[in-house]
């Protein structure tokens, strides 16, 4: 499975490079936080409404008590499978408005994937392991991408025209609508820079790494 994934990623990467070479109309996006640090796992997408897909299968693994990947972007209507690759059971849930679901304690593959048919953020977690968190961002377009560790991403295959590019991140202080930029695409390569202010996150003292206790 992992070998397959790796091969798939390689293939996709190569094809992306090829397509970038063949389709010159693209936007190179750089995302930094308010401290000028590159932001990974930023969702970057073109704001447009396309009919929902029906047969787009995506996987969020549970490996070593972590969700992989941490952030997933899907087009509305996509189904996501949550295979449990750990030897222990997990219980996945979400109380997000976009999608509320629960996968009661299970191991291996759940009976059926979960379909995400509303736009927006779906925050999910494991009920047993408080630190296990993952985000699914449901969009109406198929033009989306995620920033890498360098905070960079590329949107390709863009036809000429007016676009609004939106950036979302789980730790973004403001709503994604405030992190939107309009761009006029012509032939060639374009570049956009986003600064996403990070909101203060409560430290999860319940994670295995945090054992700090306070005293009076």
């Amino acid at each position: 499975m992992k070998v397959f994934q790796f091969t798939a990623w390689c293939f996709i990467s190569i094809s992306l490079v090829i397509s970038w070479l063949s389709h010159a109309n693209s936007i190179k996006v750089s995302v930094v936080d308010d401290k000028k640090q590159p932001v990974e796992f930023a969702v970057i997408y073109i704001k447009e409404t396309l009919p929902k897909v029906s047969d787009n299968s995506v996987v969020i693994d549970q490996v070593d008590k972590e969700f992989i990947p941490y952030v997933t972007v899907v087009q509305r209507g996509s189904a996501i499978n949550f295979p449990n690759n750990d030897e222990i059971r997990h219980q996945v849930y979400s109380f997000s408005k976009s999608k509320q679901f629960e996968l009661p304690l299970y191991s291996g593959n759940p009976a059926s994937p979960v379909v995400f048919d509303h736009n927006g953020v779906v925050a999910m977690a494991c009920n047993i392991h408080d630190w296990m968190k993952a985000y699914v961002y449901v969009v109406d377009t198929n033009k989306f991408t995620l920033s890498n560790k360098s905070g960079q991403a590329v949107l390709t295959n863009l036809a000429k025209g007016q676009y609004e590019v939106v950036v979302w991140h789980p730790k973004a202080k403001e709503s994604e609508l405030l992190n939107a930029q309009k761009i006029n695409i012509s032939d060639g390569e374009h570049e956009l820079f986003f600064t996403v202010a990070q909101k203060t996150q409560f430290k999860a003292w319940r994670s295995p790494k945090s054992t700090k206790r306070r005293g009076y």
Binding site: Y93, A123, A125, N127, F202, G215
Partner: protein, 639 residues
């Protein structure tokens, strides 16, 4: 005693002060411990609350319930959980701080939380958690707020623990200190602090006093920087009982204070020391009694005998030797008293001897005997010897019994002796009715001759008085013959080694005795030798005769003293002058002229015996031729 009592009292005070200081130090330490325990306990309760809420926030059964956001469902769940974990209040709030359910106010459904500060504090904290002490319905709660992650922070869970008397009592059980929790706030009107008691372990009677006491304590009432008095010990009086107190702040915010008043009764802290006080006081009493007994013992055994001895010494100093000191002790003081008594006895005997000696011998001799010691032997001294003899005394004897005679004689001799004493003469001895007196011994006297003559004249003068008395008592008058001679004689203690007396020996003694005998013959009262007469410059003498007494070859000129020259009358002086001329003619064997001068004198002084004697001699010599072998000395053959 004067030293003992102040020393003991100061010791007592020092011990008491030290005990109080120790008690205070113990209290200070105990209060410090109480403060530590108090905060630990509070932290424990807070941690306990946090643990419970954290457990709930991770409870996947609760998450769906919370996310329903249904007031009734949530409220029911909270009440159930609250009972399970023994909390006093529970709330679920939205992330925005609106109430979803509140077990203390079940009716609230969507209202903003009445303690927004707690949520604000939690929002700004690193872990999204907060704890505080705050009032809910005027009751103090220890509150914690923890976010509910689902998985993003979706709600606030608030849990509270009511700070009641039980909380304080639990602390008291551990720390033995009284614990009160008070809330202080500034009065808008005066700006002063007012304190309200929330929980306390103080007993019912003084329970409410702590807030009044603290409010009346100026530093906690009027001082706007009230916090500077925290953590400092002070004395707080509750219903007359002194409590060492310390105020520790639990929470201070906006000039409002939650404080813990930790107290310990000073009286209770001193209870263990009261035993010590009792022991010290008891010891003091025992020591005092022992001191009194010891003092009495010393007074009786030492002070009293010493006082008695001192009084005895004083009496002896005054000359009272006849005393006996009563000290019935067998110690050194008893021995001293015995020695003292022996000494007094010795002194008494010595005084007795001296007194007796003064009677037996002349006081001057007695003194010399006592001072210079008694030793046999003598020295050659010029001494004037006076012999006196009472005439006609034997006639008195015939008409009176012996006892009366001795009494009379003693009276006479006493009076005569007194005159001799008065003229620095010493009585050598009494020989029947005769007195032998010495002048110039044992103490040297340059006027010995004159003194002796004056004494003799005084004795004759006294005789006049005595005779008047005798006459008055129908007794025969007495006469007194006195012979005086001054000569070199041996004076000293004479006799045997065991019995001796101070006297003089020599021809000179016999001469005075002879002279005394001659007085009767010449019909004069006093006769002195030339040796005596020559030493008497101020006395007028009448030469009487030149005699050869028995056992003597040389003639002895004898004189009759008439008195002090200044006192003599013209007739006396004339008489002396005339008779001297008679004697001159007599010695020149000019009988005719002598007789011519004497005859008128005799006619004038018929009673003068020696005029008659010379008249007789001259008449016998009348017509006798000048005899160149005649020396004019009349020889007396009789004694």
């Amino acid at each position: 005693m004067v030293i003992f009592i102040p020393v003991q009292l100061s010791l007592f005070v020092v011990i008491r002060d030290a005990n109080i200081a120790t008690a205070r130090a113990n209290i200070d330490e105990a209060l410090q411990v109480t403060a530590d325990v108090f905060f630990k306990s509070l932290a424990q309760h807070r941690d306990s609350l946090l643990s419970k809420v954290r457990a709930l926030s991770s409870d996947y059964a609760f998450k769906p319930v919370a996310n329903t956001n249904e007031h009734k469902t949530v409220l029911s769940t909270l009440i159930s959980y609250q009972q399970r974990v023994d909390a006093d209040v529970m709330l679920l709030l939205s992330m925005q701080g609106n109430i979803i359910a509140d077990t203390s106010h079940p009716q609230l459904t969507t209202e903003p939380f009445y303690l927004p500060h707690l949520i604000e504090q939690a929002s700004n904290s690193e872990y999204g958690e907060a704890d505080s002490i705050a009032f809910i319905d005027n009751k103090p709660y220890l509150l914690v707020a923890v976010p509910l992650f689902s998985p993003e922070p979706s709600h606030w869970i608030v849990m509270g623990f009511l700070l009641t008397d039980d909380f304080a009592l639990n602390l008291q059980k551990t720390t033995k200190s009284d614990v009160s929790i008070l809330f202080g706030s500034k009065l808008a009107s005066s700006g002063n602090y007012q304190w309200q008691q929330l929980a306390s372990t103080l007993p019912g009677g003084i329970r409410q006093l702590s807030e009044q006491a603290l409010t009346s304590q100026a530093s906690f009432h009027q001082d706007h920087n009230v916090n500077q008095h925290f953590n400092k010990n002070f004395d707080l009086s509750l219903a007359g009982q002194s409590y060492v107190s310390v105020v520790v702040p639990i929470k201070s915010e906006n000039e409002e204070y939650f404080i813990a008043l930790l107290q310990r009764s000073l009286a209770q802290a001193l209870v263990p020391y009261e035993n010590l006080h009792f022991i010290v006081a008891f010891g003091f009493l025992v020591a005092l009694i022992l001191l009194i007994i010891g003092g009495n013992f010393i007074a009786r055994k030492i002070t009293e005998p010493v006082t008695v001895l001192a009084q005895g010494a004083e009496k002896i100093e005054q000359g009272h030797y006849d005393l006996t000191i009563e000290v019935n002790q067998k110690d050194e003081l008893g021995q001293l008293a015995q020695r003292f008594n022996a000494m007094a006895k010795g002194l008494a005997e010595r005084a007795k001897v001296r007194s007796l000696l003064g009677k037996v011998v002349s006081p001057a001799i007695a003194e010399q005997l006592l001072n210079k010691g008694v030793e046999l032997g003598g020295e050659e001294r010029e001494v004037t010897i006076l012999f006196s003899d009472i005439r006609n005394f034997t006639c008195l004897c015939e008409t009176h019994n012996a006892k009366e005679m001795i009494t009379l004689l003693n009276q006479l001799l006493t009076r005569l002796s007194k005159i001799i004493d008065g003229h620095h003469g010493v009585i050598d001895k009494y020989i029947g009715d005769a007195v032998m007196a010495l002048f110039g011994v044992p103490i040297k006297d340059d006027l010995q001759a004159q003194n002796s003559v004056l004494a003799a004249l005084a004795m004759q003068q006294k005789l006049v008085t005595i005779n008047q008395e005798l006459t008055a008592n129908n007794l025969v008058e007495i006469g007194l013959g006195i012979g005086i001679n001054t000569a070199q004689v041996i004076a000293g203690n004479m006799g045997s080694a065991t019995r001796l007396n101070y006297t003089v020996i020599g021809d000179g003694v016999n001469v005075s005795s002879r002279l005394e005998g001659l007085t009767k013959y010449y019909g004069v009262s006093i006769l002195v030798t030339q040796a005596t007469k020559e030493q008497c410059k101020d006395i007028l003498f009448q030469e009487i005769d030149t005699v050869r007494v028995k056992g003597k070859k040389e003639g002895l000129t004898i004189y009759k003293p008439l008195g002090a020259i200044d006192d003599c009358s013209v007739q006396e002086l004339e008489q002396v002058a005339v008779f001297d001329k008679v004697l001159l003619f007599y010695k020149e064997q000019n009988w005719q002229s002598a007789l011519a001068l004497l005859s008128p004198l005799k006619e004038q002084y018929v009673s003068t015996r020696y005029y008659q004697i010379y008249l007789d001699r001259l008449q016998a010599k009348q017509g006798e031729e000048f005899d160149k072998h005649w020396d004019g000395i009349f020889t007396h053959f009789e004694k």
